[in-house]
Symmetry: C2
Subunit: 302 residues, 2 copies
């Protein structure tokens, strides 16, 4: 089955303590789309300006991303620039220029509307709702969000929670949205607001998946060096949803595996700037690291 | 096989946002000893004053703890009091009175010297070395430490690292001792200083075990409420070493299981003040939670 992905598409300038790069392909939908493309066909919904490099369109296509829902508008593409501190855990946004993204109000192509799996990557919850309202009974809807929307768009975000199957958020967002220190309480509380499943991403500490009478704790891949953490969360969620779509199943066993595949793709992605590492990633690489996740988390006979 | 455990024995006064308790049985050796006693016979090495309650001596004995190496000195028992903040993650020491602990310079009973497994719980590394020097070729030696010794007793601590098989330390201590932000780098670096294995405890995020071409990531048990975090690390390490001693094996599979048993006992211990929860803990409880650890961390068929 295929997956519909909407979110931001951006040209990023990223500075880490070691390197600086300009006009990299970025945005939540780019990372999520490429990650999902390792597992299934992707229907992308997004907007770019007419300055958007042709090479990036080709990159999308190479990764099984259908561009029928990509609007190329007159004007400049959304631009973001940010800087990571030396420990790579804290990010500072240096500048944001929404440009054509300000007018993003997508109308889905007819061919997209029955896509069974949906990932609403990080954009305003009003836009996530707008896209979701055009879908015809999707089987499984995953959404991401961020601190900004938790702070400024609580009402639409809560409305969204009632309409999705799974919310993916990071540790600090989980604490922020629930005002709970305990991630276990936070996971339970978010579920009470609607989504049947909640994934809390904890970076170097792995992630937690909460369901009804169901809890899964996944480790993080032990990376010594992180070159660019940008998009790791988007890659996780894109691969997570893409894997579910590829096997067209959302039982507990499949959800566990999807969490691991999400972690695998995210762990590769941070090894190079932008989507650099995923350009050369092979199915063999993915299976190799999937097996390592198994080795490093199993106890007793496998 | 039996395990020798040395460390502090204290009467603790603990304040949490919800409760306050005085003169509780505490100290690293008490927690570690009781935890290890669920798996094997324990040879305790420690010192108390003649004010030490008879009831606590009986508690030790009930938990398979041999007291031949416990010195009862004239004077008062070591006392500690501390307070936990509302999120239970930060602890403030309110007062410390070493009392008889100041004169702790143990001479091991002859019957202790061939104990094959050793856990040197948190005390000054000079004392850990002093105890270890009296042991006759132990099979596996585990040690714990703390921020104070990393700061004030670096030379004896480094000497100790060259003489043990496994160091257990928490996340912040691992970063402090190695000056590395990455726990993966920290684990590798500590191993380079001597111990074949390193365990980094991450509290609510579980723990990591590092060995040569060997890495194991264990989840934390998802507790919603923590009543008293005191001694969780000591329980972990005591149960970890106690389990290894009970099966008399230190291969990778056994080390993985030992990490899970350590996590199980530690997770129970924080459910009540002092050693309260462990007083009523049964082998059935332990196996039950061990199975839950398996359920919450496995993926694909078990």
């Amino acid at each position: 089955m295929s997956v519909l992905i909407t979110g931001s598409i951006a040209l990023d300038s990223v500075k880490t303590p070691l390197e600086e790069r300009r006009d990299l392909l970025g945005g939540s939908a780019s990372y999520a789309g490429v990650a999902a493309g390792f597992f299934t066909e992707v229907n992308l919904v997004g907007i770019v300006g007419n300055d958007f490099p042709q090479a990036y369109l080709e990159l999308y296509r190479k990764h099984r991303i259908n561009l029928d829902g990509l609007e190329i508008a007159n004007g400049k593409t959304f631009r973001w620039s940010g800087e990571y501190e030396w420990d790579m855990n804290n990010r500072r946004t240096l500048s944001v220029a929404l440009n054509v993204f300000e007018q993003f109000r997508p109308v889905l192509p007819e061919s997209y509307r029955q896509t069974p799996y949906v990932f609403l990557a990080n954009i305003a919850p009003q836009l996530q709702l707008h896209v979701l309202s055009q879908m015809e009974r999707p089987r499984f809807v995953v959404a991401d969000t961020m601190d900004l929307w938790i702070e400024t768009a609580q009402a639409p975000l809560m409305e969204l929670l009632g309409k999705i199957d799974c919310l993916v958020l990071n540790e600090s967002e989980a604490r922020q949205i629930t005002k709970q220190t305990s991630l276990i309480k936070a996971g339970r509380l978010v579920r009470a607001w609607g989504p049947k499943y909640v994934v809390i991403k904890k970076g170097e500490h792995g992630c937690l998946l909460f369901g009804e009478n169901f809890f899964f704790s996944a480790p993080a891949y032990p990376l010594e060096d992180i070159h660019d953490p940008t998009g790791a969360g988007d890659c996780f969620a894109g691969a997570f949803t893409g894997y579910l779509a590829s096997v067209d199943c959302v039982d507990h066993e499949t959800l566990r595996k999807a969490v691991i595949y999400g972690s695998v793709i995210a762990s590769y992605n941070v090894e190079a700037f932008s989507l650099g590492r995923l350009q050369t990633l092979t199915p063999h690489d993915i299976e190799h690291r999937y097996r390592l996740f198994k080795l490093m988390s199993h106890f007793e006979t496998m």
